[in-house]
Amino acid sequence: MASGIRIKAKLTGDQVEVKTLMKHEMETGTRKDSKTGETVPAHYIQEVKAEINGNVVMTANWGPAVSKNPYLSFNVNGAKAGDTLKISWVDNKGETDSAETTIS
């Protein structure tokens, strides 16, 4: 379980409801460490991408205002059961994570 992304993708009619939870600190860059008093450096997801069978179906540009361990849900039309859904993100430090699931 190397990925910090969990995905659920369920087909109802011709719409896939995608739910995903991403493990990420989402540091705003303005919070101060309560013990040291030093500002905790910004560290947040900047881009989230959803791909079905390799085709990008959604891109989201995020900023520091998104909460820690973000939860994202969206619907996609026109996919079928058995298609592969991939979710990936890139953060402001260039770190990335991704996970795949089969639409059911």
Partner: protein, 348 residues
Amino acid sequence: MYRSTRGLPVAVAAAAVLFIAGRFVPALAGDTGGAPEGPTIGPEVPAVEISLAYRPELDPGRAGYYGFGTTATPEMIAGWDIDVRPDGTGLPEGSGSVEEGEPLYEEQCAACHGFFGEGEGRWPKLAGGYGTLTEARPEKTIGSYWPYASTVWDYVHRAMPFFEPQSLTDDEVYAIVAYLLYLNDIVGDDFVLTRDNLAGIEMPHRDGFFVDPRPDVQNVACMKDCKDPDSIKITWDSTDLGVTPTEFFKGDEEEGETATAADPNLGLNVYQQACATCHKGGLAGAPIVGDRDQWRTRLAQGMDVLVEHAVNGYQGSAGYMPPKGGQIQLTDEEVAAAVRYMTASASE
């Protein structure tokens, strides 16, 4: 796989409560058939004085017979004796997989606890939170905090889903618990939880608790030359905080009469409950408590007018003040107390 932070100074009591909640203590009622333990009252025992209004005839031939209650049947005991211990004692036969647990969880639990255990709104979070126990806002979840998997089984079986506890079958509980362990990265997605493997599951925070070594009481009991009890005065109690409903207190002297002692916090309490919504921040044009400029001309009208306006409501130039702030169950006296509280802080 995440690891939890250890050595957190959590009093063991927190955990103890969870586990003791399910302990079954057999009742000492009825004919215990001469049970070796438990109090017995008979001619040979120097009587411990028990003050009971109703004293049945003692039957010296039947030790422990009190003349009331009935012996609990094995079925009655079984209905209460549902606790599951860390070593697996108490678990029923059964099993369930992560795969079977997923749809059950989504149907019965996700609405409150979130599809990934992240917690919808303010409902409790059940997964994640690893490494947060020493932070300012610790997230205590099954994975980050609970020391034994048996508690998850016991809790879900006993108390969930919230509005329909004990409606799940044993196999469903196994499956849902398997799924909760999976959401916490404790088991893989092909895991099958059974009566036999549950006790062997190593929870990440299993070593995070210790027995608090501090004594319960710090003071040493005084045995001689002690303070004169009459010289001891109570200088402070919780009623000073304004959180204790003192109107229910009855002094020894006023037993039988209606206690009418004025509650010094009445005004504050009524204000917080019925008036602060508008008067704290100035909602709907309400004069803000503590803002003298806003109250000066109002105060000049005199207390009677202010109370009358607060009790009966009125339309002013700044807005509409509803009768009793909309809480018609309040007595006129309570509203007047709130007005006194509100204006006192404005005229200070």
